[in-house]
């Protein structure tokens, strides 16, 4: 018997760490991975609420989130490869063509 709120707090911890690393990290691949961490944290809240309401719909939501995350990872990593090919860097501070 674990309180549902403990699962939600664990998801909040993971989400906050994802937000912090999204803002702190400078490597574009690591930034992309922190988005995946945030998606995983939200999935945990979906599963916890699905368990709480005895409904299967929350798990269906998680399934669709997983599918979209897989598509997003494929396209995003292709964009990262294209950026590396044109700019020769993975540091987001040096990808600033639109800044000046």
């Amino acid at each position: 018997m674990v309180p549902i709120s403990w699962y939600l707090v664990l998801a909040a911890v993971l989400f906050s760490i994802g937000v912090a690393s999204f803002l702190i990290k400078r490597n574009i691949i690591t930034i992309f991975m922190s988005i995946e961490l945030m998606l995983n944290a939200v999935n945990l809240t979906f599963v916890a609420f699905a368990h709480m309401w005895h409904q299967i719909t929350g798990q269906i939501f998680v399934f669709f989130v997983m599918v979209v995350a897989a598509a997003e990872a494929a396209v995003g990593l292709a964009i990262i490869i294209a950026i590396f090919r044109t700019r020769q860097t993975l540091n987001v501070d040096q990808v600033n063509l639109l800044k000046n």
Binding site: S5, L44, F63
Partner: protein, 168 residues
């Protein structure tokens, strides 16, 4: 049993996430993210979502993270260096994330009694098991969205191939 699983794998997930935050090399971050995803799979299983636990291991740790590690090795990514932008991000990012965490956990813990606690004894309503229940919803009620996701995956594959191709 469930409490022990939650404590062990919850702590493992948090430790993996903090290690993800602190490591400076992308490959170390990727491997600690795999630890987070595997422990999340165990937590899904402890919440009665066996199908999602298997899908988490197969899709996230199996497919997506392998793709990440592959790209890290393909681009030969080294350790990231500290720049002026990263110091500004430290100043704004850490208090912001801490504020988000405090707000969320305050809401969750102040409503903790309303959420109740986990109970696996009468979890399933009218189905044999979790996978049967999911497949009834997914392949009967939500058949059209399920087919649309396959088109989405197809478009994503084509987009990835076009984007990653060398310019002529």
């Amino acid at each position: 049993m469930q409490l022990a699983l939650f404590i062990i794998f919850g702590l493992l997930a948090v430790a993996g996430a903090i290690n993800f935050l602190l490591q400076r090399h992308p490959i170390n971050s990727a491997l600690s993210l795999v630890v987070v995803m595997m422990s999340l799979a165990v937590l899904y299983w402890s919440l009665g979502a066996e199908f999602l636990a298997a899908a988490q291991v197969i899709v996230y740790s199996g497919a997506i993270m392998v793709l990440f590690v592959f790209v890290v090795m393909l681009l030969n990514a080294g350790e990231e260096e500290r720049t002026h932008g990263s110091r500004a991000a430290y100043m704004a990012g850490v208090p912001g994330a801490a504020a988000i965490f405090c707000l969320l956990s305050f809401i969750f813990l102040s409503n903790g009694r309303a959420f109740g606690s986990t109970d696996l004894t009468n979890h399933l309503t009218n189905a044999v098991n979790n996978i049967a229940e999911i497949s009834q919803v997914l392949f009967r009620d939500l058949l059209l969205p399920f087919e649309v996701t396959s088109i989405l995956i197809l478009v994503a594959i084509l987009g990835a191939v076009v984007l990653a191709r060398k310019e002529q």
